[in-house]
Symmetry: C2
């Protein structure tokens, strides 16, 4: 079964932006890319209506297995009021108390939101269970939704281990890891003052890597901790946040293979300083953008919104923001089958109700995703209002 997408006003490929283009999809993969005038025959046809076609977004950082929300905490923070209802630990308590069905329903709702907005690959972390059983069930649930699952037992130290952080690290690297590893591709740690320090992060990631998991890290959200250099040293696929970076951190990122994943939704929703994407790109660092969807610091699922903020507040051009939200995310997940429109890649495509991807930043907040095509072309569905 082959399908031609034609009448593409602007097609974004790694090499060039093509006007009047077409894409041939065969059995869920991109089989041909070129000028509409020389498009090959196909069994089926999709008319892009002169819109811009971009790769599906790769959202490489989410925490969508959770219960409840923290709208009240958000409201208090925006009003400048202090709020001591527990932060992440509040979500941990609600998540532990929820049934599997409740957790899966909530995550499935958020996946549908993401997909409607053009996201075709998503990573999902655990980290609101923080017991052996609750972390492993979070990952088992997440693995029904994506192959990009990340074990984040080291999200925060749970209240019951507040006086025994070493004991919690032992759990995370011992029984919890054994229970979680079968459901996870990645291991992650929040390396930051108030969470886990560099020595603990090294211990956690090293054991996870030995167990066959790929390494990721949260660091540089609240201050410099040495976590970024550790991530590079350990060959982590990505280090996420990267607002607070030393010159040595930037040099390490530029020399290494670790992607810097920036999460503008966090800074938007917390009024913390934005990371300097311009500095990183100019230094030669590979940058990704992701939503960090979670109920505390960034409850957005909109990659377009993150791109708009990245262009306004982080020094990225629209083209850089798009690349970071697609190929950058793929690099952060070490995936070579998604994130670009090229022959051999998965047919994960977004047809925009706009003549250019620039409109994703130029028209902030507007739902411009007209149609989302993902994977096997038999799965092609109209997901968004423009295609209804």
């Amino acid at each position: 079964m082959s399908t031609i997408i034609d009448n593409i006003g602007l097609l974004v490929t790694p090499e060039a932006e093509l006007a009047n283009a077409a894409v041939l999809i065969d059995d869920g993969y991109i089989a041909w890319v070129g000028a509409a005038a020389s498009a090959p025959a196909a069994d089926d046809r999709i008319d892009a209506a002169n819109g811009c076609v971009i790769p599906g977004f790769v959202d490489s950082h989410s925490h969508i297995v959770f219960a409840g929300d923290r709208a009240d905490e958000f409201e208090a923070r925006m009003a400048g009021r202090s709020y001591t209802a527990g932060g992440i630990r509040r979500t941990v308590a609600l998540t532990r108390a929820a049934t599997d069905e409740q957790l899966l329903a909530n995550a499935t709702r958020l996946i549908a939101e993401m997909r409607m907005q053009g996201t075709t690959t998503v990573e999902i972390k655990s980290g609101y269970g923080l017991t052996v059983d609750d972390e492993s069930r979070s990952l088992a649930l997440a693995s029904t939704l994506t192959s990009e699952t990340t074990y984040l037992g080291a999200h925060v130290v749970p209240v019951e281990y507040a006086d025994d952080v070493a004991g919690y690290v032992d759990l995370v690297t011992g029984r919890m890891l054994e229970a979680c590893a079968p459901h996870a591709r990645w291991i992650d740690v929040f390396c930051e003052d108030g969470a886990f320090d560099v020595d603990q992060a090294r211990a956690i990631l090293t054991v996870g890597i030995a167990r066959g998991l790929g390494a990721r890290m949260h660091s540089g959200q609240l201050g410099e901790s040495g976590g970024v250099r550790l991530a590079v040293e350990l060959g982590a696929a990505s280090v996420d946040h990267c607002t607070f970076l030393s010159d040595a951190d930037v040099d390490a990122l530029a020399a290494g293979t670790t992607v810097a994943t920036l999460l503008p939704g966090v800074e938007f929703s917390t009024r913390q300083p934005y990371p300097d994407a311009r500095l990183l790109i100019d230094a030669g660092v590979t940058v990704a953008l992701a939503c960090d969807c979670n109920p505390g610091s960034s409850y957005t699922t909109s990659m377009s919104f993150c791109m708009a903020v990245a262009v306004r507040d982080m020094g990225m051009t629209p083209a850089e923001a798009l690349r970071a939200a697609t190929a950058g995310g793929a690099a952060a997940l070490r995936r070579d089958d998604v994130g670009e429109i090229a022959v051999g890649k998965r047919a994960d495509l977004v047809i925009l109700d706009a003549p250019s991807y620039v409109h994703l930043a130029y028209r902030p907040g507007v739902p411009l995703v007209g149609r989302v095509l993902s994977g096997n072309v038999a799965d092609v569905r109209a997901m968004a209002p423009g295609a209804a």
Copy 2:
């Protein structure tokens, strides 16, 4: 024909936020509001699925009769490059060259976008014609889309009058006014350094008022000009932008009947300073939020996006932002039939895919408008993905 909307998780009325509520619509108007348990019988039923129900947004400031876009100008501005391709005058040239059908198709597309995102009342300005014929046709086209049409011949001085501003003011207050007034409810002027000064603005609005139009004004976007006090003095329904205000301006607004309409999309898309909504609200000024949809400084149609930015960057609470985007917009248009959920008002309602309107700021960029009901209940349609 009556319809009950029940299973409302949270209903926002002027007096209170009601849990477990219902609304009765009869012949396009709200006939009853109260607890779901005591809802009256009706011919038809809409299940709000425990979502939050808010008034439809009233977007009291738009410029959607135009041709072309200025994505390249946006991109250059974001990159810090100077850009001298003409600004508003470039859109004027493209608009003059467009056919009626092209202008109407573009405006209709933007109206559909607005509606899909929960806007049920919209104002539309002219201002990209700047000749007698082009201004009057812009208003004639706009009047097919809304009753809230605004004559903005005094948007900028067109190139052909660059050396004869007085001559252009004569035209705006003379032949152009005569041609436009039959299609307009309002008259507006851009009172700012580089556009029209206070004396010119006074002349333009005074003549328009005498011709039976209501007065509005753009002022305080780029600096203080005295325009805000003039707007209050003349009893303008609204003065829009209001970033740069003197203490005397704030005092005048607080003592008068003129609404201060704030346009966060402009500051987001230009990186200019945000207006201080907190200061205005605390001073007792009625504040509205609007999109200012236009291809130069703010090409958004998303009232939710504007609310999110207003909460983050302008000191508004989510409840204040919602009120400004609904009742505030209604006040800015001197409309008492829209903007609130109360008996006797038009049944312009939005059912959110969220438990609270707080989520409009807490979940930036996410399309949470599940269903839009407007006017006559026979017109009820599913407009958004959640209802598809």
